[in-house]
Amino acid sequence: MKILITGMSGQLGRKVAEFMHHQGHQVIGVDRRPWPDPPRGVEMYNVDIRKRPAEDVFRTRRPDAVIHMATVTHFTTAADERFRINLWGTKAVFDYCHQYGVKQVLFVGRHTCYGAAPDTPLYQNEDEPPAGIATFPALADLVSADLYAASAIWRYPDIKTAVLRLCYTLGPSMRGTLSNYLHGPRVPTVLGFDPLFQFMHEQDAVFAIGLALLSQLRGVFNVAGPEPLPLSVLIRATGRTNVPLPEPLFPFAMGRFGFPKLPLGAEEHIKYPIVVDDRVFRKATGYEEAYSADQTTQAFRYS
């Protein structure tokens, strides 16, 4: 199968490319960011997904399937740029896929789009509306991209579209939303709150993405790993120090004292849990995680 991966130069993108290449598929990548040393046989196009040259890649290379991973978060990118990449990039990808006869699209989204609030249930399933923006305005671009991708299921019925909502990934690459949050030696939390955090090893995420593509899924699926752990336990297990801050002080401390810079509303995700129910995905694909919570936190800690 000829697979095109958008956002291939990201840490997870590279791993997915390597994995699919290793499985014997032809892999083509599109990314603004360079990947100077992809495995031999993996084609890398250093182009912007919303620009003409990217469309040329679709037209000339004619991929059978697309894994759309070119989404960014507040940790790396400013708000207006995020909207251009996440929402308009997703629209461009689906337009190209429709135009150039792609048979299958996989959108790799995030479980954070469900949002966190005092009355959010644990183990949310795919039927719950993504309410992330209610408490966390900086998620608007990701939530809209997720919903836009899911709308392709009925807009382009001839394309097999699947939206994956992956929980946080953690592992030796030290990249990703949770890794950025846990990056420093001291991790800020909100005093008096300790939500469950759901995370999976990045290799398990790669495997899940590959499995989802090869299972030819259609629909929206939550993807998760081992049992969630309380944030305080996660921080301790990764060898970090938990620094609980009283909530009124929290916004002032962000970006100072070596703490990560978090946007408005991010503290909701540190006060309340986002835990998803991934049973539908497990049943549809037979997926099982290879790495336990302990192995995952240790892999992150000792990398």
Binding site: P118, D119, P121, L122, Y123, Q124, V190, L191, G192, F193, D194, P195, L196, E227, P228, L229, P230, V233, A237, E247, K271, Y272, P273, S292, A293, D294
Partner: protein, 285 residues
């Protein structure tokens, strides 16, 4: 800190039939260590501050899903805590009882952590369903906050029951074990509820007692009566009047249990206070 943990309580927590992971947590975030502190605190109230007796606790099955459904009284959910504790202390096979905490509690610092670590999750239908599907014991007060808002003089009455619990029981095929809690209103004798003050503090109401604060009085005797499981057949999508019929059955059962429990408790209290009932030659009072 282990001096705050009773040894027998810790031993019973170890015997709970809950799949704890490597870190001592289950999939709902219940912590074994937090449970030991929580139950020890409850046990102090259960044994020494109030005194609680139970009857019929064997009616709750040793394993599998089950709903325990009863009456609410006494300002704050003291009755809930005592029911949770009775299921740990008074049974051969201790069981963890999950209550459904009011939503506002989850937004209060520390309260949020403690409730979640001891299995008292936010009161959402999703949580109730997930817990029963995981074969846990779910404690339901169908009167909700209307029940704890009862005044001292109303403590043995029942207010309107919600119907969701019967639908849930049908849907998950869970037996309903009815219970009556006697003494909640005696422990915290509410004389008035301040709703406006509660609104300011972000709680539904603030109960006021003759000594102002809604704290339990010492040495009040409480009694819990459990009765045989009630099993209803159905799918949970029946029409309202059928469901209301089942709710009515549970409600009248609980009303009976309250009457039964009051008699038992009054006798116990009379004996404990050294009072003797004067009888005539034929043994009648």
């Amino acid at each position: 800190m282990s001096f705050l943990i009773y040894d027998d309580v810790a031993e019973r927590v170890e015997r709970l039939d809950i799949p704890f992971n490597l870190y001592g947590y289950d999939s709902f975030g219940v912590s074994k260590q937090y449970l030991k502190y929580f139950y020890s605190m409850l046990t102090f109230f259960y044994r020494h501050y109030l005194t609680v007796t139970v009857e019929g606790i064997e009616n709750v099955p040793d394993q599998g899903r089950c709903m325990v459904v009863g009456n609410h009284s006494g300002g704050i959910a003291l009755d809930g805590g005592m029911v949770v504790n009775s299921m740990l202390l008074e049974r051969e096979q201790p069981r963890l009882v999950h209550g459904m905490a009011d939503k506002f509690l989850n937004s209060i610092p520390f309260t949020s952590v403690w409730l979640n670590r001891v299995g008292q999750l936010t009161g959402l239908p999703e949580h109730a369903l997930q817990l029963l599907e995981a074969d846990r014991v779910l404690m339901v007060f169908p009167e909700g906050a209307r029940g704890t808002a009862k005044l001292y003089k109303e403590q043995f009455s029942l207010v309107r029951f919600g119907t969701g619990f019967v639908r849930l029981a049908l849907q998950t095929r869970s037996p309903i074990v009815p219970f009556a809690f006697i003494g909640g209103g005696d422990a915290i004798p509410t004389i008035r509820n301040f709703k406006a003050l509660g609104h300011l503090l972000g709680v539904p109401y603030v109960p006021i007692t003759p000594y102002i604060l809604p704290l339990p009085r010492p040495a009040v005797h409480c009694h819990i009566v459990y009765d045989k499981p009630m099993i209803f057949e159905g799918t949970g999508s029946e029409e309202d009047d059928i469901i209301e019929g089942y709710v009515e059955q549970v409600k009248s059962k609980i009303a009976d249990l309250i009457e039964r429990g009051r008699k038992t408790r009054d006798t116990t209290v009379a004996i404990r206070m050294g009072r003797k009932i004067e009888t005539d030659e034929e043994g009648r009072a």
